[in-house]
Symmetry: C2
Subunit: 226 residues, 2 copies
């Protein structure tokens, strides 16, 4: 009992220390009129692929930075760097999520006068990243439809706290048993305000709709700060 | 610094308390000649589907029990119960992995005189479950090949500590860019002793090979205790 209480206390301290730094990060993004988004999804949902396909579609006058979270390797950052976009890789060394302190340590590497959008790709995990505010304006979920239409109901917390969900790998719909109507219904039952995008990073379907929504969000965020 | 040290200490205490209970669970499985396996994989890798397809292929004289770990919902346990197999659902209520204490609490529900194989399906997560020994004989990874061939290198810890990996959704290989040669090479570079099975729960390919290996493992485990 005593040990349980101590564990809960330490977890509460951890989360509260994270929230303090997240507030500092958020203030930094606000001051620099930079929309920061926290991209969350399972391993292989297609988070990095979505970034790779999104970057070339953003208007040329929009300046983007990327923070890549991974347990090990710089595979994802290497893929993003190939697009000529400033990117910093954070390796958690085993940790299952990014936290606000890791993000703050990556910040000095960017030119904030020239960053309109900061995309933070979290570690591949549909659970733990949801508990740690990074100071982002909002969370985006990337879900591969191949994971199955039961996933929103099974991982509701993350869907409840996201502004949008990108349903990826739509090109595989015909080859799986996924029921897209159930998928959409379950997502909206958890979060009626969430935006749902259906895309295929492989064949390009839906990417323009998603990207133009994201551009609108950047503009709206910046106008609100004018 | 002080607070960091305290967090590390509590995490170490947590893991060590888990190991103590895991040893008790392991002794229980040994005493009852029951092979316990810990099945780990991302959300939607096909863990429950693999179980559903495996159960009917096991020899009729093999008695199986299933423990289903999930954050919320009893969706997976309902699917297993439909096969007439004793199943207990553990809901972690937000927690990202099973621990040995949760498993021990589920144990009284089973008839251990008549259980040869206990399949413990962990929470959908390729990271955290790897840190918590449940008392199992060994870990099995289920990986959907649609997640991509870069996953073993990105999540090496879990591959290093597993006895076998079941590469699922092989029926989708032709519709994705996955490179199966790279996948196998990377897995074996991390763990040269791991067994690799390629299956499709959808069309049945490879399931007999996987299931007969599992039956062999049960027999070998029981013979070693005779």
């Amino acid at each position: 009992m005593e040990s349980n209480r101590r564990e809960i206390e330490v977890m509460a301290n951890l989360l509260s220390a994270n929230d303090v730094q997240a507030a500092v990060n958020r203030e930094h993004f606000l001051k620099n009129k930079c929309l920061a988004i926290n991209v969350i999804g399972s391993p292989g949902a297609g988070k990095t692929s979505l970034l790779e396909k999104t970057l070339p579609l953003l208007t040329p006058d929009m300046h983007v930075g990327v923070i890549e979270g991974d347990i090990f390797t710089s595979k994802d950052a290497d893929r993003i760097a190939a697009h000529g976009v400033p990117v910093i890789q954070i390796n958690t060394g085993g940790g299952c999520h990014l936290d606000s302190k890791m993000v703050s340590k990556a910040m000095p590497a960017f030119n904030w006068q020239a960053t309109d959008l900061m995309i933070i790709e979290n570690v591949g995990n549909l659970i733990c990243p949801g508990d740690f505010d990074l100071g982002e304006a909002f969370k985006i979920i990337v879900l591969s439809i191949v994971e199955g239409d039961d996933k929103p109901a099974k991982y509701p917390v993350i869907f409840r706290n996201a502004k949008a969900v990108v349903l990826n790998k739509m090109d595989l719909e015909a080859y799986t048993d996924v029921n897209m109507e159930n998928m959409r219904k379950d997502i909206l039952a958890i979060n009626p305000d969430i935006q749902i995008f259906e895309v295929s990073c492989r064949n390009g379907d839906g990417l323009k709709v998603w990207t133009s929504w994201l551009c609108q969000e950047v503009k709206a965020y910046q106008q609100n700060r004018d």
